[in-house]
Amino acid sequence: MKLTRLFSAIAIATLSTAALTATAATNYADFPVTVKDYQGDKTSSISYGGQIARQVLHTSLMKLSKTGNGAANPELLAQMQAYFSGKDEGRAILAPVSQEGFVLAQSKVDELSKGKNLAGKTYKGVIAGWPGKKTGVEVLEFLIEKAASADAGFDYSNGMDYPQLISKFAMGAIFYNQAVDNYLDEKLAADVKPNDKPYKDGAAYTGKEHVWDEAFGYFGAPINAAGLDAKEAYAIAKGKKEIFATADLNGNGKIDLDTEMLYAHAYYAAGADKAGKSNYLNVITKAFIDGRQLITDAKGEKLSAAQRSDLSAFADVIKTNWELVIAEAAFKYAGSVYGDALKLQAGVEKNEDVKAAFKKYIHHWGELKGFSMALQTGGKDLGGFAVSLNRLIGYSPVLLGNTQVTGIDAKGNYQQESSISLNEFALHMLKVQKLLSDKYPLKARLNDKLENLSALAAKLGTGKSTEND
């Protein structure tokens, strides 16, 4: 077993070197058609338009979820459902949109791919972190319904920020789940979507080429992300005009949403990497490129066992680092909620107006909750870790009267019960950070609230402990 791993590692190292020196594929681009007897006129085998369409369906859905007016709004609900489960033509891309100095090439979902939705690709398993024993699809449907009648996405009575919950959970239950539990998992098997056949009749890409492309599309990185600086990548996602020239790779004066934009977990990878301690965006994209090169190099032949083993090793790099990106985000927001809870408590004790502090607190909790649930959609059994994570974070943040959501009744209303204090809940957030850092080898560790303890412990050293006076 160890020998096989060693050979795989050597093979990967050799392949990586070869890729760098010989073919020098630094972008996720220019992979030729390898399908045998291809009759069409395409010269590139790359295709992941459906995934990018889902990326913009997600960003548009999030945008819509912020527009409620606090009352029942069937029109908004129908609109949100159109982006989640509809397949209608003519849906506009609501986010991202062109801005002055940052013009986008596409404004309709159909320009990327037609007839796509999110619901069909959402995780079907039960979500333990959300009340009501709902599946991934049902949780999103529930959140969308609540968001439609929320006040600009917020439900202050129950401590919910729906845009955050929808977005962060959807990124996991759709993109992460599809990529790591489907395309980079069972679809890499020998007899599934083989490389010696087109993905479907007449396609310019083989089964394995398209499977790999689809996973890349769900990651949400621009084609040049392997060599992109994290801060630049972050600026692209934010639509900063200063970065336009760098982002516009083909120089057509517009940002192509399928090749030049950053979405979802690629954006959060860049967010973590900005601190300079991690390199998730580059590492994941590089593994995608190397894996794609391996498939292309097979020249439309069936992948050998050794090639599939190497491809699985690239997939493992992607899956491991992708999981870390989500864990890093959860770690960061647990730190934010910790600080927010303490500030909120201080504000309450001083009889101050805490509306803004409370909004910030539930906003960060929404991010934390979304990411923590997303972490559990990768098809792995996280066992006791997941149980502890869900218990510590709760079904809602601790509210001002020291209550917390504990369930949902038959009509879909939240049930609250008395719970711990804000101070104790803050401590829970430290435990969340500890739990995450014990489980994952986190590198960025943004908002690390226990960093001072470990930094001082390291500074004091161990020198004197065995000296005898």
Binding site: A346, E424, E451, N452, A457, L460, G461, S465, T466, N468
Partner: protein, 338 residues
């Protein structure tokens, strides 16, 4: 195994290359310099004799010193194996931090105190707390009979060299590691809870500045044949090398004196302070009459276990007797009532 050996070698070389260690080459150099100055200033014979005496080659080659070297080498391997299982300072710090969080009910980390004051406070607090913990542990190692059996390994040194500082029974070494974890963990936990990221340590070469000064000022001479003493008033504040030599003395009047590591104030508080005695020649060890095989590894490692076991066994026996007497008394009382 290879990893173990690499770590072992790193730990051994760190003894002399890491400025957090007493035997860091810089401190040894400064101690040698101080020893040379002191020897020249107080010399009575020729320069050659003075240099010869100051170098103290017979001390370095003595049976006792050779036992020190063996103990150091063996102990390092033992610590490497067992220390990961001991209580860590980060565990203690986290526990203290969380307990304070829960029991105090709030955490107000906004303070108007200047940062330098907090750093100075932490540096001073941890130094004083650690020095007291070292004093008190040392005291109980002497006063509790079964613990003394382990501490005797250190006191059985009949020649003192700077390396004697590491002549420790591994059980005692592990107790010291736990003591350090508690002291440092408690200090870190309290200060980080109260002052968050404002807490830091004033350091020189990665060492608490106060400890650095202590080490630079000839701390290594505490275990040496160079008996430097301070002014009497200063010896009531700081323990001089000569005072520590008294602590190692075989003279009964010196027994259980000068437990302090750096500060003498703890000994003053507990009435165990003994000022240095100019002109007194001190014999080091446990008793004037040295036993055959006293410096053997068997005696240094195993005797402590055997003797402390005997003591604990006899204690248990006495306790049982006592318990039985009480029981009999109770029965008699009850019978009388009938």
């Amino acid at each position: 195994m290879e990893q173990f050996l690499t770590q072992y070698w790193n730990d051994i070389s760190a003894l002399f290359s890491n400025s957090q260690q007493r035997l860091f080459w810089g401190y040894l150099l400064s101690a040698s310099f101080i020893a040379a100055l002191f020897s020249l200033k107080t010399r009575t014979g020729t320069l050659k004799t003075t240099v010869k005496t100051a170098l103290g080659l017979p001390h370095w080659l003595s049976k006792s010193a050779r036992a020190d070297y063996q103990l150091i080498l063996i102990n390092k391997a033992i610590y490497l194996l067992f220390n990961p299982f001991l209580l860590g300072k980060l565990t203690v710090a986290t526990l203290i931090f969380e307990t304070m969080h829960l029991s105090l009910g709030h955490r107000n980390i906004e303070t108007e105190l200047p940062e330098w004051l907090i750093v100075m406070g932490f540096t001073l607090f941890i130094f004083i707390f650690d020095d007291f913990a070292r004093f008190y542990t040392h005291k109980i190692m002497h006063e509790i009979p079964w613990l003394w059996e382990f501490h005797k390994t250190h006191h059985s040194a009949t020649s003192l060299t700077p390396l004697t500082v590491l002549r420790t029974h591994p059980v005692e070494g592990m107790l010291f590691a736990i003591r350090s974890a508690l002291v440092q963990g408690i200090s870190i936990g309290i200060f980080v809870f109260c002052f968050d990221d404002k807490v830091d340590l004033f350091t020189v070469l990665n060492v608490n500045i106060i400890l650095f000064m202590f080490n630079l000022a000839g701390a290594n001479l505490r275990h040496s044949h160079i008996s430097i003493h301070y002014y009497p008033w200063l010896e009531k504040i700081l323990i001089s090398p000569a005072q520590h030599h008294i602590h190692h003395s075989t003279a009964p009047r010196h027994f259980d004196k000068n437990y302090g590591a750096i500060l003498a104030v703890w000994d003053r508080l507990f009435n165990t302070l003994h000022l240095s005695e100019a002109g007194t020649t001190i014999q080091y060890g446990i008793a004037r009459d040295q036993k055959e095989g006293e410096q053997s590894l068997r005696a240094l490692y195993l005797s402590a276990f055997a003797n402390s076991f005997k003591i604990l066994k006899s204690r248990l026996y006495k306790y049982r007797l006592f318990a039985r007497k009480i029981k009999i008394k109770d029965v008699n009382k009850n019978t009388n009532h009938l």
